[in-house]
């Protein structure tokens, strides 16, 4: 067990060191608490896992305030999550491949935008894959005092489907951008040898029409796919407590699959969507007390349910209802969640409702994301 603890601390330290990130200084690279390693323990605001816009490396934390003290989360709930894609050298990568468009033209030949006739529905599997590792304390309705757990999780997007119109829009925007960047006014900027690289960048960004073209292009690219299937797997290990004569033991093992049908609603907002999610989760749960022996025992449970969410440009809120079929009883999770981006540097995440382990009492969860390397509205360290 000592070796496991040491390994966890070592891995966390290496990741932090490699990321050039100091989590106590400026609190940069904090992210919403939605990694599989957190969600597995039912302590995240949402039980839906979507691998969207994950940072290359992030540190996540969560605090909980509950009407029922038996939920008892401690103060040491941290996770790190990273995307291997950003750390591995690219091979044959280009804009179209990144956006899952494929061509049948042989390698080495000149390719035009109209040669991209096929769409790779599995194209996001590697790009969106992330690995998370969490350390957390809690009673989880089983222990009298908070106990420590180590979790590891992986998530990715298994399937991505874009409509023909979405693909045609991307190609059309590319053509428009290429034409603009080949225009005489753009060539004149690059042909001027007296301009520095910064001055060239400023001059291009100041050209009339450039901002409109790139903003429209970005909106086309960032439109949600019509359908996406996200999957995740996570395992949590109970670290044991020698002072209470408890050995380390199996904690929880979970597998998630989330289907997301997204309807674009431009009349509400430029990037607004109505999402209908279908959710499936298999859970092998070792956090159950045998009433006779008082020992921990393992139960298998299956969750299925749905979530509807309205995603506006800055505000998103949703409601999820999930049924859990277990060996001894059936439970429900009925939670509303809300996320508001106050600025690029400050986002509030919340959840409220009835959780699986709350025995009918309300649970309120709260997470904050801030200091994302923009103009931070919260500076905790005056030296930064």
């Amino acid at each position: 067990m000592t070796y496991l603890k040491f390994l966890c601390v070592l891995v966390t330290s290496v990741l932090v060191a490699q990321s050039d990130t100091n989590p106590t200084a400026g609190l940069k690279n904090l992210a919403p608490p939605n990694s599989p390693a957190f969600v597995l323990m039912d302590i995240a605001p949402s039980n839906i896992i979507v691998p969207d816009n994950i940072q290359a490396f992030s540190i996540q934390t969560i605090n909980a305030f509950s009407g029922n003290s038996k939920d008892g989360l401690g103060n040491n709930n941290y996770a790190v999550e990273f995307q291997p894609y950003w750390y591995v050298k690219r091979e044959k990568m280009n804009f179209f491949k990144y956006n899952n468009l494929k061509t049948d033209k042989p390698e080495g030949e000149t390719i035009s935008v109209n040669d991209y006739t096929r769409y790779n529905v599995f194209g996001d599997v590697w790009k969106k894959a992330s690995v998370s590792l969490a350390l957390m304390d809690g009673t989880f309705n089983v222990f009298e005092v908070p106990q420590s757990f180590v979790s590891v999780g992986v998530r990715t997007r298994l399937l991505t489907v874009k409509t023909k119109n979405q693909i045609a829009e991307i190609k059309s925007q590319y053509t428009g951008y290429e034409e603009f960047m080949s225009s005489p006014e753009v060539i004149a900027v690059f042909a001027n040898p007296s301009l520095s690289l910064s001055e060239i960048n400023t001059a291009i960004n100041s050209l009339e029409g450039y901002q409109t073209i790139v903003q429209n292009f970005e909106q086309s690219i960032q439109r949600k796919p019509f359908f996406a299937l996200d999957v995740a797997v996570a395992y949590s290990h109970f670290m044991g407590d020698k002072s209470q004569d408890m050995d380390d033991a199996f904690g929880r093992l979970g597998f998630w699959a989330t289907g997301d049908l997204a309807f674009y609603t431009p009349t509400i907002g430029k990037q607004s969507h109505v999402h209908i999610y279908g959710v499936f989760r298999y859970l092998r749960d070792g956090l159950n007390l045998d009433p006779d022996s008082g020992e921990l025992r393992i139960e298998n449970t299956t969750d299925y349910g749905a979530k509807i969410a309205l995603e506006l440009d800055k505000l998103s809120f949703g409601y999820e209802y999930i049924t859990r079929d277990s060996e001894n009883n059936n439970e429900e999770r009925s939670i509303g969640s809300i996320r508001y981006k106050i600025s690029e540097a400050f986002t509030i995440n919340g959840g409220f409702g009835k959780n699986f382990v709350s025995e009918g009492t309300t649970v309120v969860l709260f997470g904050i994301q801030w200091g994302l390397d923009f103009d931070s509205s919260v500076v905790l360290d005056p030296n930064r």
Binding site: R90, N94, V186, V214
Partner: protein
């Protein structure tokens, strides 16, 4: 500025290799001297990830005694959650960008480049220059 020995060979050709999620647009200009403000010949702007082959300088004419300047402008259209992730994408550009010249007495040669990235604009500019002697 480094030099490349083209002798009286023709054509001299340029190729740019790059692996990136961004859209790169490359521009190549020939000047008579290093102090010229106006180029005398250029290659039409191109996306080097789509037009991957060799491109002739000055329509295949001899270009000895001139200065070649190559610039590539990148614009990312994917969303970056933070600057750290953007910098990792730029590191990939730095590691894979190769402006090469060929047709001279010394065979293929990769031209050194300088790079500057701009997180606020999600853009990046790369520049290379070489004397063709």
């Amino acid at each position: 500025m480094e030099a490349y020995n083209v002798g009286t060979n023709a054509p001299i050709k340029l190729k740019i290799a790059i692996e990136t999620e961004a859209i790169p647009m490359s521009y190549a200009f020939l000047y008579h001297t290093i102090d010229d403000k106006e180029f005398f010949s250029s290659i039409p702007p191109f996306d080097p990830t789509q037009k991957t082959g060799w491109k002739q300088l000055d329509g295949g004419n001899p270009v000895n005694g001139t200065i070649l300047r190559v610039l590539t402008f990148l614009r990312f259209f994917n969303d970056f959650p933070d600057e750290k992730t953007f910098k990792l994408a730029i590191k990939q550009v730095e590691d894979t960008y190769e402006p090469s010249i060929n047709g001279g007495d010394d065979g293929p040669y990769t031209i050194p480049f300088k790079l500057k990235a701009f997180y606020e604009n999600k853009s990046c500019v790369l520049e290379s220059g070489i004397k063709l002697i």
